[in-house]
Amino acid sequence: MGPLIPNEIIGANWDFLIALLVGIGFGYILERAGFSSSRKLAGVFYGYDFVVLRVFFTAAITAAIGLYYFQYFEWIDLSMIYINPLYLTSTLIGGVIMGFGFIIGGYCPGTSVCGAMIGKIDAMVFIGGIFLGIFFYGETYELLWKKIYLDNFLGAPLVFDSLGISNALFILGLSIAALLAFWITAQIPKFVKRVDY
C-alpha cells in the first residue's frame, strides 16, 4: 500500500529519481499549457485568459478525487501523506503577500522557472527576486517574522472536517463549483477588451 517509499515498499534511493520525474511532468505540463507567459497568467485577474483557473482547479480536483479513491481501494494510506499545517495568521498574511507578488510580478515561483527556461528574461529576474526575498526573510526572521510565523497554530485539519461535512460531499460540491466557474469564466472574455500577447 502507498505511499510506497515511506512504507518501505520500494527503497528510499528512488526518492530523488521520483522527484526528478515528478518535476519533469510538472514543468512540461505547465509550459505546455502556457504558464511560461506572465501575460497569459495575469489574464485570470483581468478576465482575458482563464487558463490558470482551469488548470489549477482541474488539477486539484483530479488529484483529490484520485487520492480519495486510492484510499477507498486501500492503495494508499492518506494518514501517511504530508498535510499542510494550518497556522492561520501566517498562512493568511503569507498568502496576501504572495497575492501582491503575483499581480506585480506576473509569475509565481514554479511558473517563473518555466518562463526562465524558455528564455523569458522577466522570469529570470523574478527568480532573482525570490532569492532576495527569501534571503531578506532569513536575515530578519527572528526580528520580524518569527512571532507571526508561529502564531495561531491549528494543527493540520482537513477542509471537510473544518466545515463539518463528509469528504465525498465536499469533493462533489467543489467539483460543481469548479464546473460553474469554468462555465462563467468562459463567458467573461466576450465582455472584456481582447488582449493580444
Binding site: A19, I81, Y107, C114, D122
Partner: protein
C-alpha cells in the same frame, strides 16, 4: 495578428487536459513519496546553501538557516531541488516541442522593458517573503494543499487569489 493568436492557441495544450494530467502527476507523487509538488522550497535551499557557504557561523546562529545548515549533507541535496531540476528539464522540452524558445522580456505595450523587469524583481521579492511566511507557494501550499483537501491549502489559495483580484485594478496598466 489573427494568425498569431490562432497559432498560439494551437501550441498550447487544452487547459482541462493539462489540469487532468497535472492531477495525475500529483497522485503519482503522493503514491510514491507521500508528498506533493513545490517550487519555492528549492530556491530556499539555494539561499541556505549560499549563506552557509559564505558565512557558516552566521547560518548556524540563525533560527531560519540552522536546521538546514547544521546537517552533514548540503541543503541542496533535497527532494525539492531534484524536483525543480525536473521542472527545468520538462519546461525546456515543452518549449522546444512548441517552438517557444526565445530570449525576451515579455511586457504590455503600455510599459517599458525596464519597468517590467523592476516589477518582476519586486514581485519575486514579495513571493520570496510570502512563501516563507505561508509555508510554501502556489504549488506547495495552494495547489498541493488543495489536492490533499487540507484546510491550509484552501486558506492559502483564497488569500493569494483573493488579494490578486482585490488589487488587480490598481496594477492594470502593467498588464492590459
Amino acid at each position: 495578428m489573427e494568425n498569431k493568436v490562432l497559432e498560439n492557441k494551437r501550441k498550447y495544450m487544452n487547459p482541462y487536459l493539462a489540469g487532468f494530467l497535472l492531477g495525475l502527476v500529483i497522485i503519482f507523487a503522493f503514491y510514491y513519496t507521500g508528498r506533493g509538488l513545490g517550487a519555492s522550497g528549492a530556491i530556499k535551499s539555494a539561499v541556505v546553501a549560499s549563506v552557509d557557504a559564505v558565512a557558516h557561523k552566521h547560518a548556524l546562529a540563525s533560527e531560519f538557516y540552522a536546521p538546514y545548515a547544521s546537517k552533514e549533507e548540503s541543503p541542496l541535496n533535497s527532494w525539492l531541488v531534484f524536483e525543480i531540476i525536473g521542472v527545468m528539464i520538462g519546461a525546456l522540452i515543452s518549449g522546444i516541442v512548441a517552438g517557444r524558445l526565445k530570449l525576451k522580456v515579455e511586457h504590455s505595450p503600455k510599459i517599458s522593458s525596464k519597468t517590467r523587469l523592476i516589477m518582476a524583481v519586486l514581485g519575486g521579492v514579495l513571493f520570496g517573503i510570502g512563501s516563507q511566511l505561508g509555508r510554501g507557494c502556489t504549488s506547495g501550499a495552494a495547489l498541493t494543499g488543495m489536492a490533499t483537501l487540507s484546510t491550509a491549502g484552501f486558506v492559502s489559495m483564497l488569500a493569494i487569489f483573493g488579494t490578486g483580484y482585490t488589487f488587480a485594478w490598481f496594477f492594470r496598466k502593467f498588464w492590459i
